[in-house]
């Protein structure tokens, strides 16, 4: 790929720095305004553009229902394929939580969002998780936390040590309480699984939830299902939400995916708009029905179009889409995960299908009687 005056997609450091001012500006821009943007800004525009669609709305509603304060569910697993839109969903949920809160307390943080990164250690480092949460909560003096012990009516301080686990855990609980955190979201939560004892991991998470009253939101791939179901004590208070992709064999999904493609096409930041609406099936295949992968494909395509002076060429799709082998590997993993999750997600109770129809009829008759 040749470079022109602008940066390539590979150089994402400027792309991911879409700041709040730019977002506000994009929301107000007219069509002419979008077309008048510089190539770099056009890339940012498409990067920041998100589409409201059926699966996102449905799971969004479910998440907000389960996050209500009086709902007993305290741990939510949002499981889905890579690129299906989990992070986008969590950002919208965060915004909705903030907007729905009447509390003008500036010291409060209704949510905290961290990513459980794989940092190369052989076992799960709870210290790094705790430190991530404290940093996200803008906590002061993280390296100087001290734990206090009370024994037989005598209070003493555990000597301050760098990265002391008890002190960090104590500070975490205090921060979650004092900042009135409602939701703690951990992205890439499958990293919690690596090299770790599932029961021990869930025990620790459950104790954080019990002590602080915070709701936990764990986002990740299908590997998370084992974590969610391994420990019986957690199952009672946990729900698994399956963020589904669009199935190319379903007529309804095809229509909805077509609508998504249409919306992006309508907002394409070039005068020469590629007619994506005529290749919906192929796009669905190339993105495995995941909106995030579709966006990534379109971003690459836009980059190539901008480098060619804004003239569209269908050959861009050859390079914008993932290779066949990669796609096959991803599809196999997704299908295996969907198979594992079948009957295990929120809404997949005994009250489905024929049973639900029968129950509906009987309850309707009882009302009439």
């Amino acid at each position: 790929m040749t470079k022109s005056s602008g940066k390539t997609l590979e150089d994402t450091s400027s792309l991911i720095n879409v700041n709040d001012k730019e977002i506000e500006m994009f929301a107000r821009l007219s069509r002419q305004g979008v077309l008048a943007l510089s190539p770099e800004m056009k890339m940012k525009y498409l990067f920041a553009l998100q589409v409201r669609h059926r699966n996102l709305e449905e799971i969004g509603k479910d998440v907000m229902t389960l996050l209500q304060p009086f709902n007993e569910t305290s741990i939510l697993f949002i499981i889905g394929a890579t690129g299906v839109g989990k992070t986008t969903l969590s950002k919208r949920v965060i915004k909705a939580l903030v907007n729905s809160s009447d509390n003008k307390d500036l010291s409060a943080l209704p949510f905290i969002f961290i990513a459980a990164a794989a940092n190369g250690e052989r076992s799960l480092s709870w210290r790094s998780i705790y430190r991530s949460v404290l940093r996200a909560a803008r906590e002061i003096l993280i390296d100087q936390k001290q734990a206090t012990l009370v024994c037989n009516g005598i209070m003493t301080v555990k000597p301050t040590k760098y990265k002391d686990l008890t002190a960090l855990r104590d500070a975490l609980e205090s921060t979650l309480r004092n900042r009135k955190v409602r939701v703690l979201a951990i992205d890439e939560a499958y990293h919690l699984l690596r090299f770790g004892n599932f029961s021990a991991v869930m025990d620790t998470l459950k104790s954080i939830v019990d002590v602080t009253g915070v709701k936990l939101l764990l986002l990740g791939s299908y590997d998370l299902y084992e974590l969610a179901t391994d420990y019986g004590q957690v199952s009672r208070r946990a729900e698994i939400l399956h963020f589904k992709r669009y199935d190319k064999d379903s007529e309804g999904d095809l229509v909805e995916f077509g609508s998504i493609v249409n919306k992006i096409q309508l907002n394409w930041p070039c005068e020469d708009i590629p007619p994506f609406n005529v290749i919906v099936k192929e796009l669905m295949q190339a993105s495995l029905g995941c909106v995030g992968l579709l966006k990534a494909l379109m971003l690459r395509a836009l980059d190539m179009q901008l480098q060619k002076g804004g003239i569209w060429n269908p050959r861009f799709l050859m390079y914008a889409a993932k290779s066949i082998k990669l796609l096959t590997k991803m599809r196999e993993e997704i299908e295996a995960g969907e198979e594992k999750l079948m009957g295990g997600a929120y809404g997949e109770s005994i009250f489905t299908g024929d049973i639900l129809n029968d129950v509906t009829e009987r309850m309707a008759n009882a009302k009439i009687a």
Binding site: L15, L49, T88, R92, S107, Q144
Partner: protein
């Protein structure tokens, strides 16, 4: 209660929306937790000092670290010249309370800095700053920290938060107005060998900073207080309770007007009479009435009690009788008659041959005369006493060192036989208690360890 949630709340009305890569932050949170001070608007309103200690505890950092690394940095932005050395922070802010509870600019700046850092606006009521224009700041605060053990016990039993009320820091209040008992000095009642090492000590209201006893159970139970003291404490509690609502209504002119009414109604219009009833000098009353200086809280209290008026009403300018006038009664202790010259000589002669030898300081205290005067009047006897006592002290010290040396040698032999290194930690483990650096045993062990090496 949060507003009801629907899909429009989550996504807005449009089909498309825009998101950056980062996580949206609703607002930049405050630097410190928005902890609310306890008891604002009541007589047991929390003091600012207690608030800062609790704030540090919630952040799980040492108090001095919070003050030095966070609050002092905030104070820099207030352009105060009070910064001082780090070693001053402990004494200034914690023991002597300067900067935390005074009526001065530093406290004012600290309140402002804490307001910004915590977004809590009611912190000024944790000090007496709201009445700094009406009350003389001199000798306002108690020289040492005090507490009511019964208040702390109640908090522990009812699982309530322990904190230090502002009223306990006021010098003229010596009792707890709730339980009617004397306030205890907040010093540890346990012997020194039961104190915690400094790195294990916790600075928190309700916790003894030496032995860590929660609720100061290391102190004895307090004694019952006199009615006069309880009355004073009640008046001050009412004043503290009124600060959030009525402090803006107080003024020096109103106080003077109220005092004028008291003088005319209770003291036949004579300042000397009210001064006598209040147990203060008539010049103090004269100075207050003629605006030479602001009244001290103690003087004002005594005048109010002598007039039977409520302190709050006096400060509002509308004195209201709440009890019968009570006169101040000072208990004068009867000093024993001083011994005669012969009696002193006999006593000194007795001390020359006493066993163990007595110090001249203790004898002079007993005789009611200072040591210098005794030496001048009885030079030979006092020289004899001094030299005998010096020899005694030297011998005692030598014996202490001797004993410590023997113990030290035994400890070193024990460690060497077990193949353990001669470290401070091992010595402590052997003793099963902390080994303080200033102790005789520590010094002997240091010397012996060096010789051994």
């Amino acid at each position: 209660m949060p507003k009801s949630l629907n899909v429009e709340n989550i996504f807005g009305a449009s089909d498309i929306f825009f998101e950056g890569a980062g996580i949206p932050l609703p607002h930049e949170p405050s630097l410190l937790f928005g902890l609310e001070p306890q008891g604002v608007g009541t007589g047991t309103c929390e003091s600012l000092r207690s608030y800062v200690m609790r704030l540090a505890h919630e952040h799980r950092v040492p108090v001095l670290t919070l003050v030095r690394d966070v609050l002092v940095e905030q104070l820099k932005s207030e352009k105060t010249t009070w910064l001082g050395r780090k070693s001053n922070i402990r004494s200034n802010l914690l023991a002597e309370k300067k900067g935390f509870l005074t009526m001065g600019d530093v406290t004012s700046a600290l309140i402002h800095a804490l307001n910004d850092a915590t977004t809590v606006s009611s912190l000024k009521y944790c000090t007496l700053q709201p009445i700094k224009e009406q009350i003389n700041p001199s000798r306002l605060l108690a020289e040492y920290n005090r507490h009511c053990r019964l208040c702390y016990e109640e908090c522990i039993e009812n699982d309530k938060l322990m904190y230090e009320p502002l009223i306990w820091n006021i010098k003229c209040v010596n009792v707890c107005h709730i339980h009617g008992v004397n306030l205890n000095p907040s010093e540890c009642g346990r012997p020194e060998d039961q104190h915690l090492p400094s790195f294990k000590r916790k600075l928190l209201p309700g916790v003894c900073s030496r032995c860590g006893s929660v609720g100061y159970k290391c102190r004895q139970y307090p004694n019952k207080a006199t009615n006069y003291e309880i009355l004073k404490a009640t008046h001050v509690a009412e004043l503290i309770e009124s600060l959030p609502i009525a402090a803006d209504n107080y003024s020096s002119a109103k106080i003077i007007k109220s005092l004028g009414i008291i003088i005319s109604s209770v003291a036949e219009g004579k300042q000397a009479i009210i001064a006598r009833h209040a147990g203060i000098h008539k010049s103090v009353v004269h100075g207050i009435m003629n605006e030479h200086y602001l009244p001290s809280l103690d003087s004002l209290l005594r005048l109010c009690i002598a007039g039977g008026m409520s302190l709050v009403s006096v400060m509002k300018g509308v004195p209201t009788a709440v009890h019968a006038p009570v006169q101040y009664e000072k208990i004068i202790s009867k000093l024993p008659l001083k011994p005669s010259c012969h009696e002193r000589r006999d006593r000194l002669a007795q001390a020359v041959s006493s066993n163990p030898p007595e110090s001249l300081t203790s004898i002079s205290r007993e005789l009611g005369l200072d040591a210098t005067t005794l030496r001048r009047k009885f030079p030979e006897l006092t020289d004899e006493i001094i030299s005998r006592y010096r020899l005694f002290i030297t011998e005692k010290s030598r014996q202490r060192h001797e004993e410590a040396r023997k113990v030290g040698e035994a400890m070193i032999d024990s460690l060497v036989s077990k193949g353990l290194p001669l470290t401070h930690r091992n010595f402590q483990l052997l003793l099963n208690k902390p080994l303080m650096p200033k102790s005789v045993l520590y010094k002997e062990l240091s010397q012996l360890s060096q010789q051994y090496r």
